[in-house]
Every structure is written in structure tokens, then in C-alpha cells.
């Protein structure tokens, strides 16, 4: 006959595992109920790479991430307007941040022709929405989502060696693997890049 109290035998059972987890402070689920007024506000960002430079923009402005799209030149457009693409019968303008921010083309070419870890030459398109525009941003590689403390969004802490134009649109910076990830003011950048 099965013993209802077989958990009390010397062999551990599932209940022991659950008890173990509950006692482990690293699984203290109640941590989420800490006083949030004292916790620092976090901002979700999407990080991406262009050449050797890494940038972040607000995650809530990114509608989708697409692979390479067939692009059609827009006649008469400035160099930073890469052209248009048709996505689900909607015409979307594509911007080259590389050209708009003046990121060194030679450096970018070197990155594109380099190791697979650099993301390859095909790149990605970040479909972003601001108050006035829906635009595709051509980037070399999407690095993923991250969370930044609001305290990092501080223009005072920007390194002085950023490109002049990047400096203009930077709203914060985070050191990451011996390099800087620059948080861009997307609204301001699009307002300037998408207006003739």
C-alpha cells in the first residue's frame, strides 16, 4: 500500500525542492514588491550597431525589425535618404543614419567586410515611429533589448570624442565592452533628417 507520507522518508521529494527554492534568497519573488519609489526608473532601449559605433533608441518607438528590403531610389533626395520601400502596401522612407550622422564610411566598410561577428553587410531595418514620422532606419546589426537607468540619460556625461553630429543628438551614454553605446534623441533626429 502506498504510503501517503512517503515524503517524510529519507529520500527527497519535489516538496523538498520547492522548499529549497523558497528558502533560497536568489528566488525571493517578493523582491518585486520592493518600494518602487526608491528603485531607479528604467527605460527599455533597442541597441544597434552602425560600423563600429553602437547606439540605443527607445524600444517603444520601434515597430518592427526587418531584414534587407528592396529599396527604390527617391529622385532628388539627399544622400541620407536611402530611398523608399513598400511594406504591406505602405510606402516607407528609409534613412541612412551612417550618412546622416557622418559616421566614417571607410570604418563602416571595414566592419561590413569583416568577420561574421560584425553582423555581415546585409544589415537590418528598424521601423521606427515618432510623433510625426514612420521611418525605416538602416543599421548594420541589431544587438537587442536593454534597460537603461534614467540617470544614464544625462548629456553632461557624454564623452568628448563623439562625432559632432552624434554629440548633437546624444542624450546619454553607457559604457559597454570597452566601447560606448550612445542613446539618441530619436524625435529630434527624425525631425531634422526627414525635413527638407
Amino acid at each position: 500500500m502506498a504510503d501517503d507520507t512517503h515524503q517524510s522518508s529519507e529520500k527527497p521529494g519535489f516538496d523538498d525542492i520547492f522548499s529549497d527554492i523558497a528558502e533560497d534568497t536568489s528566488f525571493a519573488w517578493d523582491d518585486e514588491e520592493l518600494d518602487t519609489s526608491q528603485a531607479e526608473q528604467l527605460r527599455q532601449v533597442v541597441c544597434f550597431r552602425i560600423g563600429a559605433d553602437i547606439f540605443a533608441i527607445p524600444a517603444d518607438s520601434v515597430r518592427e525589425i526587418l531584414g534587407d528590403l528592396e529599396t527604390t531610389d527617391l529622385p532628388g533626395a539627399p544622400p541620407h535618404v536611402e530611398g523608399i520601400a513598400v511594406i504591406r502596401r505602405q510606402v516607407v522612407g528609409l534613412l541612412s543614419l551612417r550618412r546622416f550622422l557622418g559616421i566614417d564610411q571607410a570604418q563602416a566598410d571595414e566592419a561590413d567586410s569583416g568577420a561574421p561577428s560584425q553582423g555581415g553587410a546585409s544589415g537590418r531595418i528598424l521601423m521606427v515611429e515618432s510623433a510625426h514620422f514612420t521611418v525605416g532606419l538602416k543599421v548594420d546589426e541589431v544587438l537587442g533589448l536593454d534597460e537603461w537607468a534614467e540617470s544614464l540619460l544625462n548629456k553632461e556625461g557624454l564623452p568628448s570624442n563623439l562625432h559632432a553630429k552624434t554629440q548633437h543628438y546624444a542624450r546619454g551614454v553607457r559604457e559597454q565592452d570597452d566601447t560606448f553605446c550612445v542613446y539618441l534623441d530619436l524625435e529630434s533626429l527624425l525631425d531634422d533628417a526627414a525635413v527638407r
Binding site: P75, A194, R196
Partner: protein, 132 residues
Amino acid sequence: MISVDALLFRLGDHRLAIELDLVSSVLDPEEARGMNRLDPRPYLRPELGRRAVPPEHRDPARVGLLNISGPPMVLVLGEVLGAETVTRRDLLDLPGWLVDFAPKILKPGCLLIDQKVVWILDLDTLTKKFLF
């Protein structure tokens, strides 16, 4: 549903369309010697310094005799791609900020034909630019 017969042509890097009724015949440039020429190419170039017009596009392969009042006038067509009947289903709106960048000789929209973007030439504006 309203439909329009369009003449499709490729001028440089761009696919363009014009109402077929506006072109009475397609000619070799030699046949149109002495006639006024409407050439959209200067308005379609990228901003100065981006890219030069490739040599193969400097001499238009074909021109179209325009069916408009006034002295005989031809439109530089380049390579004629054919004719197509288009409806509003083929027409896509351009976002406002792209319209601002696009040259005024193009209508503020484009066609999507065989998954290719085709710009719509505004012949009135091009003619006015030629005349004034």
C-alpha cells in the same frame, strides 16, 4: 473602378509612368530633331555630388511625341517598358515628408507594378518648367 492606360519607361535609374493618351507615338531621337524636348532627367538627379548620370543614359534611347496643343514637342523617355492599365489599387500614397523631398515634376504618389515602384510624371509641371 476608374482605370488609366499608362506608358511605362525607364529613365536612368528610375521607372516612370505617363498617361498613354498623352503620347501619340514613340520615336527615335533622330526623328525628333528640331522639335522641342522635355527632359525630366535634370529634375530626377540625386542631390549634387551623390552620383553622376551614367554614360549609357546620357543619350535617350527613345522619345515620345506628345499629344498636346502647341508646337511639336517630345518627351525624353529613355527605355520604353510597355503599357499597363492601372487602377487605384496600383497607386500608393507617399508620406508627406517624402513628397517634400521628391521633385515637383512627380505626382505625390507612386505605382506598384510587378512589385516595382514606378514614379508618375506630372507633365503639366514639367512643361511649365520648360516654358517658364
